[in-house]
Symmetry: C2
Subunit: 458 residues, 2 copies
């Protein structure tokens, strides 16, 4: 079964598996102990740190192994903010960061700090000038991902790092999605990453803190990993993480162009094969292996289910696939369609035939899902120049489907007002207007939800 | 090489290894995903939780998998204190808890909370009545280990849990040392444990929070593990941890009596074989596999090194083996000798012959270390009824060795005053007096250190 979701997690790389097995035998002891097994464990830990530091591009004594990428981010944000508390309590993050960064920012706000979110353009890119404008005299830390995890857009990290350096603000780079491909360029101050994203085992994150960066590790204290990652070292997994990072880097260099071409094929073919599709993210400045598109009038969960039955594992940022029933904050910040959202992230070594088969089955899958939905949707609310559609209680993509049906029932210049209490409508109705060249007339609160006004143009 | 340090970490159990390998193949996907691999990972996670909950004696929905035992403790302490903040900010812990508990308590104090340490007797046992006396109207949480990690003394958890229940205070039990042997008895509220202590892989801790216990997971927020363990689940290790806990329990039941008898043999034979030894911890209410003793006039690090060369891996609570050059806080709280300290913790399946060989080599090893030290020690400071020994700048066990040499130079009734700046002397000079039936006359501050007065009695 083709697995097209390596941006969530990659299967264990054979080198990681081999290293893990060896280190289970050789590196099980406590590296803090003085006897032979302990000293051997310490040597394995030191060697792994050396290897990982080379791949990151930092000194070994700047690198700590945490228990996950999320922990690395949480510790990096808390530690950098605490270390620069005397400068101030302002934090700047891009609006499209991973939830671990945004949750750390929420915790900072709940603790009395302030946060500025830097917006992005429709490709998901945060502009260096926007970052510059968001830095203040009391800014203790800025955070920018190396590349976006949902749409693949590569961020201008080196430029933003320069802007931050100029302002005297340390930059934390969440490199989770890109570290398997290449080191992060530019003059960053802190870096976080996650081994299972590159084919290493789960249970290992990387946290790099450059010498000279003020950093106060969050309490409680612990002796391990320079006080930055409490608890017994997960040594076998650390050894496997470091070994596989080196191996994956070599393969990635060989695979980069081939995967980028396969993604270009998906980006080009999907809009030809499937009507009413929005391919999102930067087409050029992007991760080689990742592409995301959204399909109008499609229920994301049903689409994922159909693809799963057809044999493809992909991910989605649609609201119906989220536990909170809100669309992805990334798609929201970009202002693009969220319904029927599909993220394809190709593994190294993916068979070209599997990508082609995906393109073969996709049109039929979307058609089937749209067919089921069309049956479930009622007729329009009535004739006249101005129509009100009550879709309260109905979830994405129903409001948009009913809007699309009704628009033909009003004359050009007439309006359809959609009443909805679904959070996705706020994003998807304007996005639909953009895709269908209709005029979006804004929203207003109404009892039980929101009214979205659409004026027919064509 | 006989490994007698399972209380630090146990080698990976064969069942854990097998389960880990299987789960690396079957459980690598993200259990939050909807496709087949994700659903399979979710099922493995649910099954592991069921198995582990049975071994703990709690409901599966009360149990979270953390990234280590230390993390489980930190989260338990922070979460329980936050959940009961309206009751008050007082925390009660025993003085002999694992450093993870004491560090969490320090963090609480640094954050403005208050902490009471419940003392222990010379066996290391915390009395239920002492706990009762330490509970206040504003006590938010009490912590007691199931058994001590350094001396093996089993704590009266069920009695203390009853005392806490009566006072309406939740009890957190750190079960790291005992969970492989048996469930924790009594009406506890929270429980923490660590898989690598029972032969599971590193990278997995258990955190149980009983229904009805007020608990507010520390920020930042995260969707995984009921918000109690942020980061991608370390699923293969979790599966291995659960499977091995069940397997180890069965073996432990079969091995309990044999290991307890071997430890009894060590407890009885060491004082016969080695002069000036103090075997510490409760001789009866103890872990089956763990015994600790201290040897007068012995440098702990040298002793560990000699044992390592002879082929035995053991641990020590002596100050010279600690990165902070302070003796173990456990030995300190017990008021027992810390110099020349050795902790022996036997693995399941240990060969009786290895234990006997340890007893064979130990006397010679101690003799050699004492010989080296005797060569390094100077003569006494002079004659007379009252002698002053300046050992400032000298580390454990030199001050005690010089004291033992000099005591014969003063008449019965005379005093030796030892000047020392070594933290271990505060514990070891009174302990020496107790062992040698001399009178300890107290301490006073002097420039550059402390003066310890010893009056010759015999």
């Amino acid at each position: 079964m083709p697995y097209f979701d390596v941006a969530s997690t990659a299967p264990l790389h054979p080198v990681a598996r081999q290293a893990l097995l060896a280190a289970l035998d050789e590196g099980w002891a406590d590296p803090a102990r003085l006897y032979r097994e302990g000293r051997r464990a310490r040597m394995l830990l030191d060697a792994a740190r050396q290897t990982a530091a080379e791949a990151v591009g930092c000194r070994p004594d700047e690198l700590s192994f945490t228990s996950s990428g999320t922990r690395a981010v949480h510790t990096a944000v808390a530690g950098a903010l605490a270390g620069r508390r005397r400068t101030g309590r302002h934090l700047t993050v891009s609006a499209v960061e991973h939830s671990s960064v945004l949750h750390a920012a929420e915790a900072h706000e709940a603790d009395g700090g302030t946060v500025t979110e830097v917006g992005v353009d429709r490709t998901g890119r945060a502009a260096p000038e926007a970052f510059r404008a968001a830095l203040r005299a009391d800014t203790a830390l800025a955070c920018l991902q190396s590349a976006n995890h949902e749409v693949g857009t590569v961020q201008p990290v080196a430029e933003v790092a320069a802007v931050c350096r100029e302002a005297g603000v340390p930059l934390l780079v969440d490199a989770a999605q890109s570290l398997g491909w290449e080191p992060v360029e530019g003059d960053w101050s802190l870096l976080a990453a996650s081994a299972h994203k590159w084919g290493g085992p789960p249970g290992v994150g990387l946290l790099a803190v450059r010498k000279g960066v003020r950093f106060a590790a969050p309490a409680p204290a612990d002796e391990r990993e320079r006080g930055r990652a409490p608890g017994f070292e997960n040594l076998p997994a650390i050894v496997a993480a470091a070994a596989s990072l080196r191996a994956v880097r070599e393969e990635a260099a060989a695979e980069r162009e081939r995967l980028a071409a396969l993604v270009d094929r998906i980006r080009a073919r999907v809009p030809e094969l499937v009507p009413d599709v929005d391919v999102v993210g930067d087409p050029v400045r992007r991760l080689p292996h990742l592409v995301t598109f959204s399909c109008l009038y499609v229920d994301g969960e049903a689409l994922l289910g159909e693809l799963d039955r057809t044999g493809f594992a992909v991910s989605s940022g649609s609201s119906c696939t989220s536990s909170t029933l809100t669309p992805s904050h990334v798609l929201r910040a970009m202002g693009v369609l969220s319904e029927g959202n599909v993220r394809v992230s190709l593994p190294l070594g993916v068979a070209e035939a599997d990508v082609d088969r995906f393109l073969d089955v996709l049109p039929g899958v979307v058609r089937r899902v749209r067919g089921h939905l069309a049956d479930a949707v009622g007729g329009p609310g009535g004739g006249g120049a101005d129509l009100v559609l009550d879709t309260l209680g109905k979830r994405c993509p129903i409001p948009v489907i009913e809007l699309a049906r009704a628009i033909g029932d009003v004359p050009v210049g007439g309006t359809v007002t959609v009443l909805s209490d679904d959070e996705a409508a706020r994003l998807d109705i304007p996005a639909w207007c953009g895709m269908r060249e209709q005029e979006y007339g804004g929203e207003r609160a109404v009892p039980g939800g929101t009214a979205y006004v659409v004026r027919r143009r064509t």
